[in-house]
Amino acid sequence: MGLPHVTSIVRPSSVEAALNLLKNGNGAARLLAGGVDIVRQPPSGDITLVDVSALPLRDIAVTEDGQAISIGATATLTEIMESKLIVNLYHGELIAMLGRVASPLLRNLATIGGSIGSSHPWSDIHCLLLALGAKVEVYDGSYRTVDLADIAPRPRQDQLFTRVLIPIHGNGTAVAFETFSLTKFDVAMLNCACSISIVAGKVVAARVVAGGTPARASRIHAAEERLLGTELDAASIQHATDAAVSDTGLRDDVRASAEYRRVLLKTGIRRCLLRARARTALGSKPLS
C-alpha cells in the first residue's frame, strides 16, 4: 500500500480554494505539486493532500514591466528547461543547473513551487535562485512578493507559492553555478553560485551563495564584500574564496567531510567567479 496515511486528495480549481482547503485542514493538509518529495517521504499521521498541480499556475512569461521572468509555481522543471524564454537566460546557466537536478523522469514531475517548498539543504535550485536574487509570489489571502531568502524551510498552512520571479539584468551581470556530487544523479555534496554586476570595469554588486554545506544555501556576505569595487582580478578572486571558506560553517555529514567541503567550496567559488567574469566585459581582459 502506497501512503496509508493519505485520507483524501482534493483538487481545487482556484488558488483561493486551495488556500481554504489548506487552512481548513487543521494542520493535517499538505500541498501536493509534483509529489516527488511528498510521496517519497510522506509526513507522519493522517493527511489530506491538496493537489495544486492542475491549477492555472504553469505560465512562463516576461512580467509586464519587463524586469523579470515569471515562472508559475506548478511549471515542471522540464517545462522550464524547454521554455524559449529560459534557454538563453544568464548564458543558459539556469537550464544547465536544472539539467543536473535529479533525472529526466523526475523533472517531468517536479515543480519549481515544490522545489522551493521542500528547499532541501542541498537543493541546486535554491542555491542558484538565491544568487539570481529570485523572489517568490505568495498567496495568503492577498498576493505579495517575498525574497526567496525569506522563505522559511517548513510547510505552512496559511500560504502557497504562486510564482517565482527571476530578475532580468542587463549585459553587465553574469552568473555561474557549480555543483559537486558523487554521480550526476546523486544530490550535491556542496553547491555554489555567484552573480556579478560590472559597471565601468568595477564590481558594483555581487552575490555569493553556497548550499549543502551541509546547511541550506545562503549568501556569504564576507565574500561579496571582497569583490565590491574591484576589477575582479586574481587577487580579489583569491580574497573572496578565502573569505567564503572562513565564513561558511562547513561541517561533516554522510556525504562529505568538512575538510573535503573546504576544498570543494574554494574550487567552486573560484570556478564560478572566473566563469561569471568571462561572461562580462571584463572577460576580454586577461586576469591580472
Binding site: 493519505v6 509529489g35 493532500l49 539539467g99
Partner: protein, 158 residues
C-alpha cells in the same frame, strides 16, 4: 475512490485508495510490465508515459493521474508489430534480464519525440534516471541511437 484514466488508449474506471500510487494501481490492473525497483524515484524501473511524458509511477499518486492518459509498454505496439525503439533494443542486444527494459524503452520514446537526432551524451543524460544492473548501458545507448535513425528515416511518429 474511482479513478478514470485512458490506459493504453482505452478509457478505464478503476478503484483506488487515496494513498495508492499509480505503480500499484497499474500492476493491480494486470499491467505487470510496470516494475517496482526502489519505490523512491531512484531506479526508474516503474516509468510510464503520463500524458506523453515519462515519469516514475512510484511517485505519482493514482488519484493525481485521474483524467490522464497513461501508456505502458503493453500499449506501444505499432499496428501489432514492435515499436521501432523495441525493435532497436532487440537488434542491438540491449536486453539482458529485461527488468529495466520497459522503462528504458518508454523513456527513450519520450526523449526521441523531443530530440529526434540526439548525440550519445544526450542519450546518456536522457536515461540517467533508469538504472540497469546488467548491460553496462553501451548497447542501450546504441539501441536508442539506432531507434532515432529508424524513426527519422521512416514514417513512424515517436
Amino acid at each position: 475512490m474511482k479513478i478514470r484514466m485512458t490506459v493504453n488508449g482505452t478509457p478505464r474506471e478503476m478503484d483506488a485508495a487515496p494513498g495508492d500510487t499509480l505503480l500499484e494501481l497499474l500492476r493491480r490492473e494486470g499491467l505487470k510490465s510496470v516494475k517496482k525497483g526502489c519505490g523512491t524515484g531512484d531506479c526508474g524501473a516503474c516509468a510510464v508515459l503520463l500524458n506523453g511524458r515519462a515519469v516514475n509511477s512510484c511517485l505519482v499518486l493514482a488519484a493525481k493521474a485521474d483524467g490522464a492518459s497513461v501508456t505502458t509498454i503493453e500499449g506501444i505496439s505499432d499496428n501489432g508489430g514492435l515499436h521501432p525503439v523495441q525493435q532497436a533494443f532487440l537488434d542491438s542486444g540491449a536486453i539482458q534480464c529485461g527488468y529495466c527494459t520497459p522503462s528504458m524503452v518508454l523513456t527513450a520514446i519520450d526523449f526521441l519525440s523531443r530530440n529526434p537526432d540526439p548525440t550519445d551524451d544526450q542519450i546518456r543524460a536522457a536515461i540517467a534516471g533508469n538504472l540497469c544492473r546488467c548491460t553496462g548501458y553501451d548497447k542501450q545507448v546504441a539501441a536508442i541511437r539506432d531507434a532515432a535513425s529508424r524513426i527519422r528515416g521512416g514514417t513512424h511518429e515517436a
